[in-house]
Symmetry: C2
DNA sequence: GCAAAAGTGTTACAATTACACCCATGT
DNA sequence: ACATGGGTGTAATTGTAACACTTTTGC
């Protein structure tokens, strides 16, 4: 009991979205053994007096330079054999970044950090494929009952971005009219007096997620659901 | 990093149900400091080569003698100040026991282990009140989208037991006809040729949850939902 | 004026809710 | 025969899903 020698790490599956459209995940290439040279999700050891979430933010900044807008705990992975050398328990998180925060630190060696399309992932170190699978499942499920999709879009976004995000993540077509009716019906989006400039076709109105309003509605018992 | 001195425990919030009706939670009284004499949820240190879930089953058996039928990970609590002495991270689980497993080990001092009604809980050691709150929320939410309620009932149960369980947990009346229609409509309950014996009134038919059938239906895309 | 994406309403269908009486047993 | 809990169907309402044309801009 008092001779317990278990180490604790945090790891973070960080998702980004481009309107290409593609959903991507932030990976780092390992510099040391075990699994030297393999891609892995960013993470590292928790310091003795450090809260778990702080450790996640710190490691992400150190390893990738990315600052995330949304973070939640995913699951704790603790199988004794998950690390070939020591007993290491990993508290995994999942995070979302907006496109404008979607850049990798200038001081990182670009060869060591990269975004990968979730449909085209490399083999990963440790049990990170498991962690990633769970994170993807959680994200897919969660966007249907919590308004976290906005955390993957710019502050101001055209409605079609939201629609494409859902189409891409859920892997099925969505009826534009019904979707718009439903989302706008909640009343948690502010329609701005601004139009998207770039691109072909008719310019879209921009919208903004009103978080304060969302919590008011939630308190009233209104449930977000797709 | 290599001087990390964090310890890892598991703790389990174990729920039971009696058709009184009441939802109860298994607690143990602490024998040692810190919080000596206070009630706490059962748990303890993970051994070096021990999977986390094994540690939960072991601690539950050692401390309470209760064998649980359902177990899932809840959340990992890691605030540095959650234990007044050391840095201890707790991987919390939540478990469900059927009424017939609802007994406390004969070799336990009865004064040290007890079931408490969730509406009448004592002050708890550490941050266990937080853990418990989260577990209750999770249970309430989860019975609406996964068929875990059966894990709190006997193998064979009258339909009214299920209805009362849901009424009690959700804290609102449920229309008997609509509820029955919906649940039986899923086709995951077998109606037995047996009747409940005890009690006043017309004897109820007994039902049994068909887990195999449930997974078949789930694979077909049928989703359980209340 | 044409290509490209944005914006908009109505109808059919499915699911959910509301609601009240008879049945089987024990005493 | 009465008290107790068990068992059952239908109609109204609500929510969801299907569906196609017009508008605004850039080239």
């Amino acid at each position: 009991m008092s001779k317990q020698s278990i180490k604790v790490t945090v790891d973070a599956v960080v998702f980004g979205y481009e309107s290409t459209p593609r959903i991507s995940i932030l990976l780092v290439r390992r510099k040391y053994d075990p699994f030297k040279g393999k891609w892995a999700i960013p993470g590292g050891f928790v310091e003795n007096e450090e809260p778990l979430e702080d450790a996640v933010y710190r490691e992400l900044k150190e390893e990738t330079g990315v600052e995330i807008g949304y973070l939640e705990q995913l699951y704790t992975f603790g199988q004794p054999e998950r690390d070939p050398r020591d007993r290491i328990i990993s508290v995994a998180y999942f995070g979302l970044v907006k496109p404008n925060a979607y850049t990798i630190a200038a001081d990182s060696d670009a060869q060591e950090v990269a975004w990968f399309d979730i449909n085209n992932l490399p083999n990963l170190a440790f049990d990170h494929t498991n962690i990633l699978d769970m994170a993807i499942k959680r994200l897919r499920a969660k966007i249907t009952y919590e308004p976290i999709g906005f955390e993957l879009l710019d502050e101001k976004f055209p409605f079609s971005d939201l629609e494409n995000l859902y189409t891409t993540l859920l892997g099925r077509e969505i009826d534009r009219r019904n979707f718009r009716k439903k989302i706008l019906g909640f009343g948690m989006l502010d329609e701005l007096q601004e139009k998207a400039s770039k691109g072909a076709g008719r310019p879209a109105n921009l919208f903004q997620f009103n978080k304060k309003r969302y919590f008011e509605l939630k308190d009233k018992g209104i449930v977000f659901e797709i």
